[in-house]
Symmetry: C2
Subunit: 223 residues, 2 copies
DNA sequence: CAATTGTATTGGTCTGATGTTTGTCCGGGT
DNA sequence: ACCCGGACAAACATCAGACCAATACAATTG
């Protein structure tokens, strides 16, 4: 194994063993490189790799820290990967979303707060068939993100966030505007909000299934 | 933004734009570093970061290539992250598994092949309450992995694989052996196989829900 | 006491040299 | 014609050392 990969493993092990915990600061690069027995350049490659998956947080002029390691941080790393995997099998991604989104909505129906409901309703304002694609994408991201967040499970919302990379969404909304299906989609969003307001878990689940399936079917024939 | 991060973005964009496709070889480090306007050292940090999330494949003495970018590769990257996130909120992870595993089993019931069924049955051989924890973990990983694979959705099985890091599994099985709950768990596995053999999607879904919930409840009281 | 300035610490980047591995080509032997 | 081995080139791996830039913190100053 290359020295850099060894360093990655060693740092990972230090975290797993508890020698390093969330928020802890690592020794300076020079010191750590000597301790691990490799050059600073090689160590930096290892640190960079751990930084991109949000395990380490490097602050110039300050030091390198272990991140909070909250599940939320999983999102960014996963999004990065899913972004690159797009086009490969969007339908597979939709199949997973069709499983998770209704489940999230169902859970959310029993837990969602008034503030979150208000935020959901707010996303519907100023949105219509005439709205720009960028705004629609933004609305959609926030809308589904809020529902996932209301389910109160960081892993669940992180995974859903990642599976709905904005790049993919943008293309879909672009297609929807051409197909003049925007108001149907927005009407579905409205129904979902109403179900959540009533705390109707079963209805919320069903509406999400229909909603995702609708887009999925449009996608299927578009490909 | 630092030059290294710029390089990461640029390489990512080259892949997204199609300038680089799966399997393509990147220019040599020296050449690419000049093209992107940074030193070789900094470029190497960028490459290392993309290598760890399985976007690039570096072959010493040969060159650097874009990986196949198959969803399967998502697993390794995600597992690495989830491994580090363990202990933080295992129950959240179980909640997601309780959503995905039954869905996967339900889909698998209609698609599973005879070979896959045989493989599933094979995992039950030589397994009993007396078996070592290592073997039980191995059995469990393969068992659930096969079901996920039978659902024939790479993203689904990748995510499930990642959520079931062997580190977590090991600890759970260790607990189960102490609680003498091993044969109940194995009996549930048997029932699941039978449901899949009959192609009974609804039953498979229910059994998986019960199965995951059972472990989940044990975990809840153990924490 | 607050604002400013200095300075040490720490990460960011570059350069250039050297080691290691791999792929390829070519010549000799069968 | 085929196979094998060595030489060579290409490409990544690693290191050492230098200098830049941002930050934290203590000292200074008003």
């Amino acid at each position: 194994m290359a020295v850099t990969d060894e360093a990655i493993t060693k740092i990972k092990d230090m975290i797993l063993s508890g020698e390093l915990s969330a928020g802890d600061r690592l020794p300076p690069e020079k010191e750590l490189s000597e301790k691990l027995g490799l050059s600073r350049s090689s160590l930096r490659e290892a640190v960079k790799a751990l930084e991109i998956i949000r395990v380490l947080d490097v602050r110039r002029g300050d030091g390198t820290y272990v991140t909070s390691l909250e599940p939320k941080l999983l999102t960014e790393a996963m999004t990065f990967i899913v972004d690159l995997h797009q086009d490969k099998s969007i339908l597979d991604i939709f199949e997973v979303r069709r499983i998770l989104e209704p489940a999230a909505a169902s859970i959310a129906a029993g837990r969602i707060s008034l503030e979150q409901l208000a935020a959901l309703r707010a996303t519907m304002e100023d949105i219509s068939e005439a709205t720009s694609v960028e705004s629609l994408v933004e609305h959609d991201l926030v809308f589904h993100g809020l529902i996932a967040a209301a389910a109160n499970n960081s892993y669940l919302s992180s995974i859903l966030d990642a599976l709905s990379s904005s790049t993919v969404r943008a293309r879909i909304w672009r297609g929807l505007t051409q197909e003049r299906a925007v108001d149907r989609t927005l009407a579905e969003h409205n129904s979902i909000i109403e179900a959540l307001e009533r705390g109707d878990a079963e209805l919320a689940r069903a509406l999400l299934t229909v909603h995702i399936s609708g887009v999925e079917n449009w996608l299927r024939q578009a490909l």
